[in-house]
Point group: C2
Chain length 382, copies 2
Amino acid sequence: MRRLNSALVLDAIASAPGSSRASVATRTGLTKATVSSLVDRMIGAALVVEGAAEARSGPGRRGTALHLSPAGPHGLGVEVGVDYLATCLVDLTGRVRKRWVRDSDNRASSPALVLGEVAAAVRIATREDVPVGGIGVAVPGLVESASGVLRVAPNLGWREVDVRGELGRLLGADAGGLPVQVGNEANLAALAELWHGDAPQDFVHVSGEIGIGAGIVVDAGLFEGVSGFGGEIGHLSVDPSGPRCTCGSRGCLERLAGQDEILRAAGAADVADLLARLDADDREAVAAVRTAARWLGIALSGAVNLLGLPAVVLGGAYARLEPWLRPTLEAELGGRVVSAAWSPVAVTASSLGDEAAVRGAATSAVRAILADPEPYVASVLA
Amino acid sequence: MRRLNSALVLDAIASAPGSSRASVATRTGLTKATVSSLVDRMIGAALVVEGAAEARSGPGRRGTALHLSPAGPHGLGVEVGVDYLATCLVDLTGRVRKRWVRDSDNRASSPALVLGEVAAAVRIATREDVPVGGIGVAVPGLVESASGVLRVAPNLGWREVDVRGELGRLLGADAGGLPVQVGNEANLAALAELWHGDAPQDFVHVSGEIGIGAGIVVDAGLFEGVSGFGGEIGHLSVDPSGPRCTCGSRGCLERLAGQDEILRAAGAADVADLLARLDADDREAVAAVRTAARWLGIALSGAVNLLGLPAVVLGGAYARLEPWLRPTLEAELGGRVVSAAWSPVAVTASSLGDEAAVRGAATSAVRAILADPEPYVASVLA
């Protein structure tokens, strides 16, 4: 009962920062005495802080304003990219405290080795002067979120890796007790866009990195499909007789419009080089991006024809390429979406860009605490 | 209040045929007096009949068993096919009372002319010796179900046709007062499969006729996508540089694996002729179906990668072609669905076949009465 009520009270404070105990009681339907006792516990565990008197007109004594504590438990996000490892610490309000990124060639890598690096990154981050309340790990593959098992990550060459279990073992006494969320990086990037970006309540977020991940948000929640393995736009076959993909199929979108293929076709060394060439109107670079936009438009038209989505958010490297992708992409969507005439599809660039997935991972760790604060409170007060 | 309670009571009888007034009261939480008075009204309107005493062990007086009345209001379904017009009368329990089908070339036809034929079919069906309580119309195009407006039906060449309004005007005094549901034929076929067939709770029903329609069922309900225009598998582009489709795009599934294309490639006159050739192991016919199965497998793999669906039901002409479609279809699904190894996709043939859409239309009319019986009861008792 206390567990449920703590979650109710914390949600009331999170959704209306500055509320008094009295207004939390009104909104939750709990007694003032219950709210006060729960709030005192949460102040003791540094989840909540008291500020100045509540700003409020009207009669009655003004209560002190309650806020989520910026010194409270932080969420630690780690993203295992195909060619980098990113870490991010966010506070309870989702504000980024610190962020690290380093190159790391994780293609065809050993899970034990890479998870060892993840554990090292966790150790570095937990040395910061803030408490860490949970870990979120973003991986470029299919994840069974309940168990934290990665089923397959074609671009890493991984299969059946128990990310949560392995990480717990590797962290041992250091941070072994922290709850670990494991999620698909594209899904976490889409959620970050929903939580922190300018995205609407229904959209597909498609991010171009080595792989192409898509996260589908419907009604402000993640759409994972019936099996939990939905949203795999990168493996829509847009050229069925095309080149073999790491997933076993042929002509998958990510084989034709992924970052590697764009760079190769443009003769560019990396994304920065590609952007410089595009700025200089380099013919090959412009054509390479246009070709990718065409394949992307074909795949996204399929997704919209199936899911009836009103908006596309371009994330990852696609966010930076948006000015060059947009014309061809919009033309494909206009020509291939059956309902385009009366239900057009809006195309926007992500406001979070490359940061989205790791930020989503960190925020998911924080949201797990907010949704069920009592275990954290009990561990601190014990 | 009575309106809501009537629906509750009728639902209790429909979901447990043979219940007594007392057990309906227990299950709905209404008083026995309220249930009795509502049941009496529904018996008066012939929605409900009393049968023998309730079959029940245990103490207490046995109440009489209540059933949906087979003589109650029927649902009248009409399907506007591309080359036929089908009509179907079902009783409150969904049992088919009568069914009509006739050829009708509706390609590039005038909506006024075809809807005139629909009105004529309605008049013929209402001459049967049963009361008609509502009409369901299945059309091969995108429908806004709230308004009953058909946005576009590429294979009929129709755009922006107010099917409900037009039909109401054409029927005039004859049956002008009957409520009219308008739906996409593929969606109604999928629902019929859910209501009357052997389908599971989550599946995609794909039916090969002139067009290729797909209805997606998730959690025992229709999935129409955010915009309501989802589920358009027929217009997934499987060969992006392929032939121009009636929808404006290129290489859509229905252009490559639709009935017309299979018959043309097999050199068959119609589906019966094609089946005869397949039975005789005719090489061209077998190759034509195999090619269609390959395109179908590519499109369905895309749908499964996006929606994570565990089952495919082959409907319409595809149901009859299932033995020849299945091997190639399963091979494509196995090779292209990223999660196929641990979440395989079951392929089955529809048990309703060509009848599915019109039956879904008729049953949807009946279900509208069951969901809100009071207007019908009031009209009969007035």
